[in-house]
Every structure is written in C-alpha cells, then in structure tokens.
C-alpha cells in the first residue's frame, strides 16, 4: 500500500488506528466507546467522557491521541493538549475551514507542540495553507497521490501575513 501520510515534509507509514463515533453519537456512546490497546486516535468527545479512566491508565496515555470534529470547540480540551503526542483535526469536507482556526488556536494559544495532523477530505491544493496554520502532518485520502502532492507544501515563496509557520508578517521582515 502506498504511503498516504506526510509528516514534516516526508512520506511515512501511519501506525495509528482511528476509532470513530457515528455522526449522531450521543454522550453515552462516547462514554461507552471501547478504547483498544495500541496507538489509537479517539474522538475528543470520547476523551472527555472517559477522561478519568484514561488518565488512570497513565502508562498507556502516550498511545492515545484525540481527533477534533469541525464542531468541536478546542477550548473544551485546552487544558489537556500537553498530554497528547498527536492531535488530529478532521476535514469531512475540504470547503469547511473551521479546522484552520482550530489549528492556529492549538499552536498559538494553547502552545501545543506535538504532531498536528489534518485528516479527511484534503488534498495537495490545501497543503500550503494547512501547513501555515500549524499542521505538520497530513493524511491524504487513498485515491490521492501523496508523493506528487509534496511540492505543494511550498507553493509560494513568500507570505504576507504572520501565522504559525512564520509568525512575523512580511512587513516586519521586509525592512530587516
């Protein structure tokens, strides 16, 4: 199988499993989702519902990542972000741009330093912007050629406004 995960500019194997909830899942579903052993990405709602139990299994916590749906308010998980080695942000449709703000908040406001992975309906034409708002990993859908997408991480030689990758806007660097 071809590699679909780009991380830090390289194609790599994805060793994380993803557990998901149905779109219409209730809080009870989130609380009862069976969280298997191994490296798993779980919905942020499941993390919140099972937080105490999961924290009790501290020895496994490095194997748990959370995934944020577009409607999930990143504020609700803000005080836990330092616990995770990976946070995934979901893009069910690439035209839904809420995840871009979520990423900036995670990096700039909540100082999240781990892997920030964009997942879902994304492609090479989104990579440049995704990288700028703080994503360093991108899981492309299987039908896409991830290798051909790599150069798009650098579609533009310069940027005007400050963001995560380059906090200083061009006008603070132009005269420098």
């Amino acid at each position: 199988m071809s590699k679909q995960l780009i991380k830090d500019g390289q194609l790599i194997d994805n060793h994380w499993q993803t557990l998901s909830l149905a779109e219409d899942a209730t809080p009870a579903d989130a609380a009862s989702l069976l969280i298997t052993q191994g490296s798993v990405i779980i919905p942020a709602a499941a993390w919140l519902a099972q937080r105490d139990n999961l924290l009790a299994r501290t020895e496994h916590l490095h194997d748990i990542a959370v995934s944020l749906a577009p409607t999930f308010r990143v504020e609700d998980i803000a005080h836990d972000v330092h616990r995770f080695a990976l946070i995934a942000v979901e893009f069910p449709k690439f035209i839904d741009g809420r995840g871009y703000s979520t990423a900036r908040l995670l990096r700039e406001r909540y100082a999240y330093r781990g892997e920030l992975r964009a997942v879902g309906n994304i492609g090479r034409d989104q990579l440049f912007y995704l990288r700028r708002v703080g994503f360093n990993a991108f899981l492309l859908p299987p039908e896409q050629n991830a290798e051909a997408a790599l150069p798009s991480l650098n579609d533009f030689p310069e940027v005007y406004q400050g963001a995560v990758d380059q906090p200083l806007p061009l006008f603070r660097r132009r005269t420098a």
């Binding site: 690439f94 912007y129 005007y160 406004q161 005269t175």
Partner: protein, 569 residues
C-alpha cells in the same frame, strides 16, 4: 499607486504557476469538478451560461493606464472585445476559454494584476471611495489602508474556506461613497481628539436575500490594530458562522442571530489574544505604503468655477451639451484648478458598465494625456479620471465624446447600476440588460432626465443583489415565477451615510410593463415634489402609497413592444 516590489511580483507569479498546475490537472481528469470549483473561484473563474467568466481584480478600483491597456489587450485577445466593470470595481470577461486562463493571468501578472480572491468563500477585493485622495471632505486617504488589508487578506491561510464570501469596504471621507454599511465589514476612517487616525468598524451589513445594515462594533479602533482586530473578527465568523445553508452563511446572519453586542463582545474577547501581536501595524509599514499614494505633481493652477469654464465654451455650438456634461460628469477636487471627471459607461444602447476595447484604450489615452496616467473604477460602474486640470475639460469632453464615454448622465436615472443578469450569469433568475435597455430607450431625452434630477435606479437579476437594487431609490429585482421572468420593484433605498434598504411596493411586473411603471412613478414624483427635492426624498416624505398607486394604475398603459414576453430559460 502601489507598485509591486520583487516579493509582491514573486507571489503573484507563484499563483499563476499554481493555478496553471491546477487547471492542467483538471483538464487531465486528475481533479474532479467539485475539487476544482473552489480553486478556480478563488482565481475569479466562474462557469457561466455560455462560457467561463473571469473576474479580474482591480484592487480598490485603482488602475494605471498601462494596466487598463493590458485589460484592453486581454479583452481583445481572449474575449469578444467587451469587458464589464462591476460594483466591486472589478472587470469581468464573459467569453473566456478555460485552458487559456493561466495565460491571461500571466499577462496580468506582468502588469501587477491578478484575479486572486475575486470569488469564492474568502476575503474578496477590498473596495473604497472612487474619489479617494482627491475629495475635499476626506479625513484621510483610505487607499493605503485598503492596500494593507489587501496584502493581509491575500492568501490568508486561515480564511480561504470561510462559510461564505467576505467583503470589506473602507471610506476615508465624511460622505460615504463606498457603501460601507452594506458590507460584511465596513471601515470608516475617523480622527480622535488627539488627531490620531482610527476606524469605526461596522459588521454584518449586506444585501442579497436578507438585506441588513451593518452594526457598529467599535467607535474608534486605533490604526495599529486594524489587522489584528479584523483577523479576530473573521476568526469568530469562521468558527461560528452557519455552514448548513449557503443562504444563511454570511456574517450578517450570525451577527443578527447572536446580537451585535454579543458578537462584538466575542470579537473583543478573541482580539485580546492577538492584540499587540506581530500583525500589529507599524509606523514604518504604513509610511512605506502611504508614500506610494502620495499626490501627483500638481501644477499651480488658478481655480476657476465650472460656470466660467462653461461660459468660455459657450461660443461653440456645442455649448449646451458641454455645460450639461460639466454639470453631471465633472466633480470637485481638493486641489485648486483641478477636477475629477467621470467617463460614463452608461451610454444608451450598451450594457451598463460595459467598455469596448477601443473605449478602454481611449480612456487609457485620456488618463495619460490629462490625468497623470491613472484611473479609478467607480462602484456605480463608471471610470473616473481623478486629476484633470480644469483648463483641459473641454478637450477631455471632446475626446471622451468621440470614444462614446461622455454621456452626461452621472447620478441621473440613466446612470443605472446593473448586473449582467440572465443573459450571462448562471445564477440569475431573470435578465437585467434588456430591462436596462428598455428604460434607457424610454428615458432617452436628456432634458427630461435633467428635469428628473438625481435618481439611483439599480437592477439585479436575482436575489444575490449584484446590482445593489436594495440601495436604489428605485430598485428592480428579477424573480422567477414558475419559470417565467418577473420584476419586483422597491422604492426608497439609498447608499451613503443614510444607507437604507428599499421597500417592495407590491406584486411583481412582466418585463414589458417596466418602462411604463417607471414612467408613471416618475410622473407622480414630478407632480408631488417640492422645489429641488430629489426622488428619494419625496418617497421618504410621502411614503409608498402615491407611487404604488401610480405603478399599478392601468388606464394609460402603452405597452412597449421592444422587449419581449417573459423568457423561458
């Protein structure tokens, strides 16, 4: 005007290269129509009724003669010889071949132009006053701020996939000529007691299906915070604006739903995190940009009032026509001895806002000869020569007349704002151009038009309201009734400081009825007006009833056969 440095150039050329790749992948079947659509829209490319339409950005409506000549050559080479200037101060070409778009963008990039973010759910071209920098009532020139916002919003990584389009307008004068209260964000430049520049910020205005006037967010935002505050505001919208229904996705719906005070509080809270951050503007950067909008090398000319300019030429047989042009198309300038001139794109027989290749070239030549090589696009869809010596007005008039750019109708009923409508636009419910043309025909007598005086008549072919019909003293909206084209009339709309949404007078009309309906309402107005009272004020004073009565009166109907029965599309 702002000239690109090497970095600006590199960014625009990188965009051309990126879009060339995307177009090639689409044409090779490697990119689906759904995946390509948002990408092409962010490069101004629509798929229309007949052919793709390309919307070229004219940032805040400012053009050099060189750029206008390039627009003419692009129109000649890739289109059918006519371009359409829009209410966003942009240019649309209606007959473009998709595979050629990257080449067009390359031609444009060579003269520091592009089609970046002229469509799509992103921050669009920033618009401003077409008299910026020359108006006597100006507090400060809005163009440097518009350029700073243009750079900040260009390829903003966080805001390329907003719930819906996002339009910003900025005014630097006491009279608002940029319609800031009907924009997603409207910025009014103000000075505080210390003489420092800041902005009154409005948000949540807009036309479309739900016309709303923007609500005040901040009284005085110090200029340093323009970008950080706007970024906070757009972020709140990006996170909480509705995405379930495109008709309810504009920021105005969010502002109305949560209330403007609560929305403003949320923005303020968000802003507290970014305030004073790196995107805070610096004195050096503002000076760098402002320097490029410094005044041209004006001569020391005697100020003459326009009556004496007219009197000098009265010896000519054309004296009356020239005097009329002076009265309508020539505007005051803050520098003595100079005037601004509107080149009318509302010539009867041509679609409002349309300019032929020859007209674009003639306008560019006029700019070179008489106006320091610069032009403006007015959101009322005309071109403006901003810095013409008064002593040259007669020469400008003669040359403009030869080029078909001198219709003396600015601000009159014939100066209609009209969208391309169902003849071109795939979104339209009805045609707007034949309606405009029938009205032009009915009101072809200049004496009559002058007697009617100031009147804004605006036509939109659908609820998207590109023709700003809500803001017309008379507004005409094309609607679809069971597959037929009908037209709804609103009265009492206004742009400017007293921005106001017009009211629907009643059931809609068939296309053929419109000229009679307008004429009957005008006749009613002429009978009812007080001295020099413009149409809009008579409507405000008396309300709709006398006009409604006139509009629906049947006895003196004389149907105009020149426009056909409702079309089936």
């Amino acid at each position: 005007m702002y000239h690109y440095d090497e970095i600006d150039k590199a960014i625009v050329h990188a965009r051309v290269k990126q879009f060339r790749g995307q177009t090639e992948r689409f044409l090779a079947g490697q990119l689906s129509e759904d995946d390509f659509r948002p990408l092409r829209l962010q490069n101004g490319l629509y798929i229309q009724r007949h052919a793709p339409m390309l919307r070229i950005a004219i940032p805040y409506g400012l053009l050099s003669s060189t750029q206008l000549r390039t627009l003419a050559s692009v129109t000649q080479k890739y289109d059918r010889g006519t371009g359409h200037f829009t209410t966003r101060q942009n240019l649309q070409l209606n007959w473009i071949a998709l595979p050629e778009v990257p080449n067009i963008l390359e031609d444009l990039a060579n003269v520091e132009m592009h089609a970046i973010q002229t469509s799509g759910n992103c921050i669009r071209n920033i618009t401003t006053d077409h008299f910026a920098g020359i108006a006597a009532d100006e507090i400060a020139d809005p163009r440097p701020w518009a350029e700073l916002l243009r750079q900040w919003s260009t390829f903003h990584p966080e805001f390329a996939y907003l719930p819906r389009k996002f339009k910003i307008a900025i005014s630097g004068a006491t009279e608002d000529r940029a319609a800031i209260r009907v924009h997603d964000v409207g910025l009014q430049i103000v000075k505080n007691d210390a003489g420092e520049i800041g902005f009154t910020v409005y948000a949540g205005g807009g036309l479309g299906r739900t016309p709303l006037i923007g609500q005040k967010m901040v009284d005085f935002l110090p200029w340093q915070h323009l970008l950080t505050y706007t970024e906070a505001l757009v972020r709140v919208y990006n996170r909480y604006g509705r995405r379930d229904n495109p008709y309810k996705a504009r920021i105005k719906i969010l502002v109305r739903a949560v209330g403007s005070e609560e929305f403003s509080r949320q923005v303020e809270e968000e802003w507290m995190h970014g305030k004073d951050g790196p995107n805070t503007l610096t004195t050096e950067e503002v000076a760098r940009v402002a320097k490029q909008f410094s005044a041209p090398a004006y001569e020391n000319l005697p100020a003459s009032d326009l009556t004496s300019v007219a009197a000098q030429e009265n010896k000519h047989a054309s004296g009356k026509a020239f005097a009329r042009w002076l009265a309508r198309n020539v505007h005051a300038h803050k520098v003595p001895g100079y005037a601004a001139v509107t080149l009318s794109l509302k010539t009867p027989g041509a679609a409002p806002g349309d300019a032929s290749v020859a007209q674009m070239e003639a306008a560019a030549a006029l700019a070179d000869e008489f106006s320091f090589g610069e032009l403006r696009v007015a959101h009322e869809q005309n071109l403006v020569l901003s810095d013409v010596p008064q002593k040259d007005l007669y020469a400008v008039w003669q040359k403009a007349k030869t080029a078909g750019l001198a219709s003396a109708n600015i601000g009159l009923l014939a100066d209609m704002i009209v969208c391309p409508g169902g003849d071109f636009c795939a979104l339209a419910n009805a045609k707007s151009l034949p309606i405009a043309s029938a009205i032009h025909e009915r009101f072809s007598d200049l004496d009559y038009l002058f007697d009617i005086g100031d009147l804004e008549l605006n036509i939109s072919g659908c609820m998207n309201s590109c023709g700003h019909h809500h803001l017309g003293a008379i507004g005409i909206l094309g609607v679809d009734k069971k597959g037929e084209e009908w037209y709804q009339i609103t009265l009492g709309g206004a742009q400017g400081n007293a921005a106001h949404i017009g009211e629907v007078i009643g059931r809609s009309f068939a296309a053929a009825e419109i000229p009679d309906v307008i004429e009957r309402m005008i006749t009613a107005y002429l009978a009812l007006r007080l001295d020099n009272e413009p149409f809009g004020e008579t409507v405000a004073r008396l309300g709709l009833p006398p006009f409604r009565e006139a509009a629906y009166r049947k006895e003196d109907t004389n149907t105009n056969p020149s426009i056909g029965k409702p079309a089936h599309v």
